[in-house]
């Protein structure tokens, strides 16, 4: 298998190298990639959409349809991980609880139902997680700053590199930091599974809903200047705010899906413990 692989790879490599002989030199401003559509984007983007960051304005306005389906792909990935791996427990094993103030331990057998989280009783696990003071304290300090940075990246997507997707990944990563430094159940108490599913669908809904709103107001799908009829601004600024709204949708979807994929992979669907 390795020899066949080597032969195939050498043949395709030779074919690709033969094809690159006609390509333009690196850094050529007159290459075909830079002379057809993109000069119009570079010249007209600031006066048509009032957004200095060209990549954000093309991503969310000129090529907004692509980005809508990219958000749908993220949602579908989160959904597939959930469907593949999620294993709801069929029967409860014996549970052990400890009353915090007095130290009395309770052993509850079988299928009695217990409220999920209670302030006076803590659950003693069969899987013991090590207690590390430095990591927990540092994590507790860092997480608010990570989240503020993620919101900053989202809000400044118009003027500096960034946007909805990058901010969403950073925000999701802050929850993953909580899940790694503490234990998985701490992260899941703060961000429940139902909320996770709802938010990931809400992100796609905001995106498509904004496009449909433009359709209802009389224009084309995802043509943000129609929003000027309900918002008190001129059409150019309405496009900038349409871009911001759409990026918020992408942010919410990505944040929920990143945490959901991590939780499902690391706990094999059982949502009890992991890493």
């Amino acid at each position: 298998m390795k020899k066949i692989g080597l032969i195939i790879v050498c043949l395709s490599g030779a074919l690709l190298l033969y094809a690159t002989q006609d390509f333009p030199r690196w850094g050529d401003p007159n290459s075909p990639a830079s002379t057809h559509v993109s000069p119009r984007y570079i010249q007209k983007s600031l006066e048509e959409t009032d957004v200095p960051n060209l990549v954000t304005s093309i991503l969310a306005d000129y090529r907004g349809y692509d980005t809508m389906f990219e958000t749908t792909v993220i949602f579908a990935a989160g959904l597939s991980c959930f469907i593949l791996l999620r294993a709801f427990k069929k029967k409860e094993d014996d549970l052990y609880y400890r009353h915090i103030s007095t130290g009395i331990t309770l052993h509850i057998k079988g299928d009695k139902t217990i409220p999920a989280s209670s302030k006076e009783f803590e659950r003693i696990d069969t899987m013991w997680t090590p207690y590390d003071l430095i990591i927990k304290t540092v994590c507790r300090f860092l997480v608010p700053f990570i989240q503020i940075f993620a919101l900053y990246v989202l809000a400044h997507g118009h003027e500096s590199p960034g946007g909805g997707f990058q901010g969403g990944v950073i925000f999701g990563a802050s929850f993953i930091v909580i899940a790694i430094a503490f234990d998985l159940r701490t992260a899941l108490i703060r961000f429940k599974e139902k909320m996770d599913g709802l938010l990931s669908a809400l992100g796609v809904f905001i995106y498509a809903g904004l496009g449909a709103l433009c359709l209802l107001l009389g224009g084309n799908f995802l043509n943000y200047k129609e929003l000027a009829t309900i918002l008190p601004m001129d059409p150019v600024e309405a496009r900038a705010y349409g871009i911001l709204g759409v990026e918020i949708g992408v942010f919410i979807a990505v944040m929920a899906v990143m945490l959901s994929i991590y939780v499902n992979i690391v706990s094999e669907g059982r949502h009890d413990e992991g890493l």
Binding site: M1, K2, I4, G5, L6, I8, V9, C10, S12, G13, L16, L17, T20, Q21, F23, R25, W26, G27, D28, P29, S31, A33, S34, V37, S38, P39, Y41, I42, Q43, S45, L46, E47, P52, N53, L54, V55, I58, L59, R63, D66, T67, E70, V73, I74, A76, A77, S80, C81, L84, L85, E159, S160, P161, F165, I261, N264, I265, E268
Partner: protein
């Protein structure tokens, strides 16, 4: 000799991108472990993204964020040769997003396969499939 120099040295960047792509393709075909195949797939994807991003460069141009801002834009026309081409960047953002989504789902599949067959090597999985 002149032709050789022009073909190899002049276009050395395409040679390096092709070598990277072929490393990824070789890992996908010839490795037995499922996770190594995934790593090869991701190497292939990022090599293609590198190729597209390199097309967007222009000599002497700056990043695609327009500097003049506010009311003075009408006075100065924006020169196209001053900014690099932003269109491949946009397409590659979508490509990166799709790549990480596929990676997540593929890892979930690998975990599920390990749960059932207790191994991640391709030939052992085929053997256990044949035995059943």
């Amino acid at each position: 000799m002149d032709v050789l120099i022009h073909h190899i040295i002049g276009k050395y960047n395409y040679w390096l991108y092709t070598i990277l792509m072929m490393i990824g393709l070789y890992a996908m075909i010839a490795k037995n472990n499922l996770i190594k195949k995934l790593v090869g797939m991701n190497i292939f994807q990022t090599a293609i993204i590198l190729f597209y991003v390199s097309i967007a460069c222009k000599k002497g141009a700056t990043i695609p964020i327009i500097e003049e801002h506010g009311g003075s834009v009408a006075g100065h026309a924006i020169r196209v040769a001053d900014y690099i081409n932003p269109l491949p960047h946009v397409l590659m953002l979508t490509a990166i997003v799709v790549s990480v989504s596929t990676f997540g789902v593929a890892l979930a599949l690998a975990v599920k396969i390990y749960q059932k067959y207790k191994t991640l090597e391709e030939d052992e999985i085929l053997m256990r499939l044949r035995d059943k």
